[in-house]
Amino acid sequence: MIEKIHHVGVAVRNLEEALRFYRDVLGLPVHKQATVEEQGVKAALLTIGQSEIELLEPLGPETAVGRFLERRGEGLHHLCFQTDDIDAELADLKAKGVELVDQQPRLGLAGRICFLHPRASRGVLVELAQPVE
């Protein structure tokens, strides 16, 4: 079951500069910060209510977020929903023939995650996440 918005992903050119606004001006606490090599990003998750804002700086121009920045500039990148059972969710999506980026869940900053193809949601890149302890 989809429970809530886990986070809203934002592509930025420079994480430290973006933190100066989101952390220092807006006052949102940084919950987690990490470099995720396989996804080609330096990321920070900031808590807001029951959800988070995820700032993503690409590690290079050839990464997915790097190409997004090149094409569209900084801004809203993806929307992540929290599920209590990502395996069941993914099986259900496959059964319905929904176009996916990930055929299997993988480990990301938000837990076990997978991405749907933006074509499946009329231009919105959707991520599902099942947090792991």
Partner: protein, 140 residues
């Protein structure tokens, strides 16, 4: 004793706005993919926007289809296509939030009534927020 620094009290993500060329199809896809359902049938505003809300947790997605070529939503469709549009964040006191941000050099609009909800909102200039159109919204 040192005076406590005032802080901006952001309560939660209120909603995420998504712009689409085909509201019916977008609504169908969100329900098919994730089981998100509209809380009521879509509404058309005076500004020529057709919109529907999909509640999720303590927030909602707002799917918006502009019915004319005018306005911010139509502009995004032309320039960037369908997709994520803006992020709305609830605050307790909109006036205090605007003053707080302006004190820190952030460009924020004056409070106004939102065309879709009728609630008091203010917009943070997206140059300050790294490309994200952020709306602050007061619900009480």
């Amino acid at each position: 004793m040192a005076k406590k620094e005032p802080r901006l009290q952001l309560k939660r993500i209120d909603h995420v706005a998504i712009v689409t060329e085909d509201l019916n199809d977008a609504e169908r896809l969100w329900e098919r993919n994730l089981g998100l359902k509209a809380e009521a049938s879509s509404k058309v505003t005076d500004e020529g926007l057709q919109a529907v809300r999909l509640p999720i947790g303590d927030a909602f997605l707002e799917l918006v289809q502009p019915l004319s070529g005018q306005g911010r939503f139509a502009g995004q469709l032309r320039e960037r296509g369908e997709g994520l549009f803006s992020l709305a964040i609830e605050v307790d006191d909109l006036g205090a939030a605007i003053a707080y941000l302006r004190d820190r050099g952030i460009t924020v609009s004056n409070a106004e009534a939102d065309t879709l909800s009728g609630l008091k909102i203010a917009r943070i200039n997206h140059a300050s927020s790294h490309g994200v159109p952020i709306e602050l919204i007061e619900r009480k």
